[in-house]
Amino acid sequence: MVNQTLLVVPIIISPLLFILTSILSSFWPGTRPAPVIRMGAAATKVNLVVALYGIMLVAIYGASEGGTPELGGLGLTFRLDPLSMLMYSMIALLGFIIIKFSRNYLDGDARHGVFMGRLSATIAAVQFLVLSGNLLVLFLSWVLTSLMLHRLLIFYPERRRAVVAARKKFIVARLGDLSLLVASILIYLQYSTGNLETIFKAVKESANLPIGVEIAALLLAIAALLKSAQFPTHGWLIEVMETPTPVSALLHAGLLNAGPFLMIRMAFLVSHSIAAPVLLIIMGALTALIASVSYMTQASVKTALGYSSVAHMGFMLLVCGIGVYPAAMLHLVSHSFYKAHAFLASGSTVDTIRASRIKEPRRTGNPIKIAVSIFFAFLIYFVFSAFWGIDHSRDFALLATGAIVVMGLSQIIAPALDSDGYWISVVRASLLSILVALLFFSLESVSHYLLHTQLPELIEPNTLTKLLIVSVLAVFAVTVFIQIIAPVVKHTIFWQKLGVHFRNGFYVNAFFDRLTGAFDIQYLSQKLK
């Protein structure tokens, strides 16, 4: 780690410009706020340039840090390393699109300026978060992102559901803040510094985590779970389409990532901990499963996307728990771009449906064909993993991650193979699945190559964790298998009822509704004033 304050500081220009945009918006809060829009657009362009600068800096000097001098191990320290620059550039790329989108999308809104200002402020907060070089900056920006987001969630304060969602979010977020705060204090007490680099070094050198840090790691995991709307605290996330679409794009592609990001940032602590990975695996897998099934049952596009995000966050945290951080990071980046696009393009749903009145092939329900599909998926996986030189006996964690990919691949091939459609569609589906496998292994390698300096070595999980992972894989496998055969089995009332439960997210949100008085008339009328 190099201390390069002079070289590092320019990276702060970009969040400062966003803050400036936000300040400017208080002078042009209303309709058609031309100066705010111009300033916001300029900030996003500068951001892209600054991101490029940061990448070059890291490429030349390696990980660097800089900022104010640290007093007692605390200060405004910013850290430029492959991880933070990856996150930073990702946000720059997203920010550019989201700000551009908001310009026309909110045109004519009576508080367009306010919106641009709040959007900018939130982007700035996320940037500080990913750049944080010590616990103080990390904690402050962590809280700040949440507070900034809150102002976006209640952009239309007269909307009942917006207020309810913001309130649910507020409760969950404060619990998360508290976890992070206590974790930070525990870590600080142990190492007498807030500087991340110093802490990481100390952790690397020690064989086992001191008990205080072990608890801290667990609290960090809890903070991450709460930040990323994991089951059963996901209710607020699926309701936040009560605020304009660009907010959803920014939230799902940016802010929500703070959970997995925290785990990857603190990977040295988390992976050395005993309890944190277990918690991540259990909660992550549970959320991933429930939310990804719930997603399939949603009839409204934005609600569906909300569940999808919950599921993917769960999956990332699961992968963090397993310890394959590069895969988690790849997932994080990919998901961000995908989800931002999905939200911004959610108005196109009708086009997709208009185009779908085409004769569909019938599924034949041939068990041999289904078995072949699954076998073929395994084959692709083993060929690739052999080629990439993965040692199955040693790299248990990689094997587990790979197994999930296989399951997915069989979902491309089976519907094509087990149907009365064109045979060429089977060829295309197979080619696609090979391509997906190829991309997975290449991109995972790239991610590993980029981040290996910031991440611990892959650790062999202990027996308990292994057992846990195997159970998760088994449940996932059953889920996939059910989906493959679902189109050809008879739909009983049992499935209909199960579907209703899934669509309602197992009623967790209904409990939260009751808890927060979502339908309470007095509370709302007070709140709305």
Partner: protein, 837 residues
């Protein structure tokens, strides 16, 4: 439940059924976003007067049917409404006979818009809400709407959880019995109450009515309120019933839904933990009876209705003055035009037609409903079902296929599309499946980074255009329509010669276009181009059932260019000269580009003329764009053509064009009456010459079809404007497409009907004003009266203040105003003022 006090007033099954059916008739239909046709949301109340409907809806749904008083007072201040307009409006009311305008305004100003508590019909949910301080109504809407979206889902969810094979009531009942939410909300007995209701929907409804102890007098208004509460989904189901009535499918969707809602209410009554509820509910039933009996219009509402009338008077006065003044000089059209261009009656055509005629005096334009009298079902390449390309009031008559003329290329395209769809389906199950979505995301998700950028800069569409999806661009460019008669999937497609001749004959008749054919006849359908816009089809041609008019224009041209058809027409005394060539075109209303569609088929002989025509069209497009830019573009000084084109490809654009905003007039007359008038893109124009309409059949057709459709469009805009909460779809930035059917505003709530706020208001001012449609027809009064007499629905619309009917004389002067009941009056001198001035 033994102790019914008023057994005598209980209802028998038959009257329950008929009241339920009557109530269902009160709900106007709604079409899905796939073909978002404009609907008059007051359609079910057309047998009532505007005032009565306003009064009723304010009680059943809290619906506003006028703007707030301040809006009108503002118009008075700005002199948009004159004292005469007000006086005329007041004179229609006996109770205001002696009230001067001045006093009236004073009184109205005093009242302002203070929210005086108005009597509203309360459901069990509302009574319970008052007692428990919980919004049971919002909760009910959320639950029911969630089920309905899943049940009617057109393809959003991968796992269809509401068993679309079951009927509405069964599916709803199973779902509600499964749903744990009522229990969580503290309604312990909800499930039990529902379980004991019969499974047969109508029996469940009767039983519920009994449990609710509703009386004959209270039932009607109660049921209306109930349907109105979930008005969006009710309207959607009314729409399904509507289509099934036309095409012979099963009806009764809405009736079943009403049974479900009734069951919900009765279960709520039995399960809310509040001992006083039943007592209060009994009192409420008495109130329902009283409200149901009340005929008197609330005075505040009454005043606003008068102000609205005055506002309409003002608008009418201006129209009359403008038209009459312009027609003091006789406009002499070019009798020997090179091109006759036929456009849709759409208000957007008015603007383009005017500019096209300005560009060249050798072009004459005409207006007719944009399906050009060819109601076809159009089956796109590789599709299983077609789209009905005709007004929703009438059924499509024949099925035509989209084809690529070269047979091999066609088969290739079909295969391509099917294959694409099959792979797409496999891919979708991978991308969206539980667990498999995780293996999708890591490797593939990152490809959305470049996609996001190309989409943002308008280089790509977020998803392919439905018309060309899955087919190579080159092949799609050649797509045409085949009229050949053959069998397809056990159904006959194509048009026989007799059919072609018959349709051609009635189409030409409907346009009053039976002689004086020019060398080129352009038939221009219209469509729009916007991306990422859930309401995109709402900008397409309403006369083509919310689709682009391309298919209809192609069919019309194919038929009319066919020598055999012309021979058949000649036998029926329509002689189309050999040198007359029909040319199909598509008018893109977003960009004002007009493209010829059948160019490759056009003969050498007409090439030079066509080249000239294309130049005129291009120039007219440019002028039209700059005219529209004033309303559309906020930052001027840019290249207008580019700016408008960019808008049409911008995925973040919430106002790609203004659609029909501003529409307030429908003129049925020969073009020479309006050709020299700038009607500002706010008038529907139908060409009609009564002198060649022997039995006034065409007049009847126009008054029963296009006139009703224009009124639907006008009242859709009106209703969305004056009450966007109930009859509009709210804020576009919050839209959440549900089931591929419609939008929710935000996370939950009812399906939204009508237009988004962004389509009515630009952030600074209204782009549509609350005017009821003025219909100006040049035809003898007796002829119009005859049509009205024979068509009750049309008469209702004109008698009851939904449409203002005006008559134009042979000199192009608007001289008579329809008063209702087949009575007419002369347009007063003051309104004709411009004549003097």
């Amino acid at each position: 439940m033994g102790n019914y006090i008023n057994r005598k007033t209980m209802l028998d099954a038959r009257s329950v059924h008929s009241i339920m059916e009557d109530t269902c008739q009160k709900i106007a239909p709604l079409w899905s976003l796939e073909n978002f046709v404009a609907v008059n949301p007051y359609w079910g109340l057309r047998d009532k007067s505007f005032e009565e409907a306003a009064n009723l809806l304010s009680k059943t749904g809290g619906v506003q049917m006028t703007m707030p008083v301040s809006f009108y007072l503002d118009a008075v201040r700005k002199k948009e409404i004159s004292y005469d307009d007000l006086e005329n409006a007041l004179s229609g009311y006996d109770e205001f006979e002696d009230v001067s305008v001045h006093d009236f305004l004073k009184q109205v100003e005093r009242e302002s818009d203070a929210n005086r508590p108005r009597r509203r019909v309360a459901l069990v949910a509302d009574v319970a809400a008052q007692l428990t301080a919980k919004d049971w109504s919002a909760w009910m809407i959320e639950r029911i709407s969630g089920w309905a979206a899943a049940y009617f889902d057109k393809g959003q969810a991968l796992w269809r959880t509401a068993a679309p094979g079951q009927d509405i009531f069964t599916s709803w009942k199973i779902e509600t019995l499964t749903d744990v939410t009522p229990y969580i909300m503290g309604l312990r007995g909800f499930g039990k109450a529902l379980k004991t209701l019969p499974n047969e929907p109508f029996q469940a409804a009767t039983e519920s009515i009994e449990r609710l102890q509703l009386t004959e007098k209270s039932l009607g208004i109660y049921l209306h309120t109930l349907l109105q509460r979930v008005g969006g989904w009710s309207a959607y189901m009314a729409g399904l019933d509507w289509d099934n009535r036309l095409y012979g499918g099963e009806q009764g969707h809405l009736l079943m839904f009403l049974s479900a809602l009734l069951s919900w209410e009765s279960c709520l009554l039995d399960s809310v933990q509040q001992p006083d509820l039943k007592k209060h509910w009994q009192e409420n039933i008495k109130q329902l009876e009283e409200i149901g009996n009340e005929k008197q219009v609330d005075s505040l509402l009454g005043h606003r209705l008068i102000l609205q009338q005055a506002y309409d008077n003002a608008n009418q006065r201006q129209l009359i003055q403008q038209v009459n003044k312009a027609n003091t000089k006789k406009y002499i059209p070019n009798r020997e035009p090179l091109v006759q261009a036929i456009f849709c009656i759409d208000v957007r055509s008015e603007l383009f037609r005017r500019n096209l005629e300005h560009v060249s005096s050798r072009v004459q334009t005409m207006g007719v409903a944009g399906f050009f009298g060819f109601p076809v079902e159009h089956v796109p390449i590789g599709h299983e079902t077609g789209e009905n390309q005709c007004p929703v009031l009438i059924p499509a008559k024949t099925k035509v296929m989209e084809v690529i003329p070269e047979i091999e290329a066609h088969q290739k395209a079909v295969k391509q599309r099917l294959l694409h769809h099959q792979v797409e389906k496999a891919w979708k199950s991978f991308k969206k499946g539980a667990v498999s979505c995780f293996s999708f995301m890591g490797p593939v998700g990152i490809s959305y980074l470049p996609k996001m950028y190309t989409d943002a800069f308008g280089l790509t569409r977020p998803v392919p255009h439905p018309a060309s999806e899955g087919i190579k661009y080159g092949a799609y460019q050649q797509a045409d329509i085949s009229l050949d008669v053959r069998q397809l999937n056990d159904q006959a497609v194509g048009m026989s010669m007799e059919e072609q001749i018959e349709m051609a004959f009635s189409a030409l008749k409907a346009m009053s276009f039976t002689d004086h054919f020019a060398r080129i006849v352009l038939i221009a359908g219209h469509g729009s181009s916007s991306v990422n816009n859930p309401h995109a089809t709402g900008l397409d041609c309403g006369a083509c059932g919310g689709h682009s008019g391309e298919a209809n224009s192609r069919v019309a041209v194919k038929v009319l260019n066919n020598p055999a058809v012309r021979k058949g027409l000649a036998q029926r005394n329509i002689f189309i000269p050999d040198e007359t060539l029909f040319v199909a075109a598509l008018h893109d209303t977003t960009t004002d580009d007009v493209q010829l569609l059948n160019e490759e088929e056009l003969p050498e002989s007409h090439l030079a003329d066509l080249t000239e025509l294309k130049e005129w069209l291009a120039l007219a497009g440019r002028i039209s764009r700059s005219e529209r830019a004033v309303r559309l573009l906020t930052d001027t000084g840019k290249d207008i053509d580019k700016a408008i084109l960019r808008r049409s490809k911008d995925w973040s654009q919430v106002r790609p064009e203004w659609g029909l905003a501003g529409c307030n007039t429908f003129i049925v007359a020969p073009r020479e009456r309006t050709a020299h008038i700038d009607l500002g893109g706010k008038s529907f124009l139908h060409s009609y010459n009564w002198k060649s309409d022997e039995d006034f059949d065409v007049l009847e057709l126009i008054m029963t079809a296009p006139m009703v459709v224009t009124s639907w469009i006008n009242l859709q805009y009106y209703a969305s404007l004056v009450d966007n909460k109930n009859f509009g779809s709210g804020n576009k930035t919050l839209h959440n497409v549900t089931g591929g059917i419609g939008v929710l505003e935000g996370y939950s709530g009812d399906l939204r009907v009508g237009l988004p706020w962004q389509s009515l208001h630009d952030g600074e001012q209204y782009q549509h004003l609350p005017h009821r449609l003025n219909v100006v027809i040049e035809a003898p009064i007796e002829a119009m009266n005859k049509v009205l007499e024979a068509n009750g629905i049309v008469k209702n619309l004109c008698d009851h203040g939904w449409i203002n009917l005006l008559a134009m004389n042979e000199a192009g002067q608007i001289t008579q105003r329809y008063l209702g009941n087949l009575r007419w009056t002369s347009v007063s001198e003051s309104e004709k003022g411009a004549l003097v001035a």
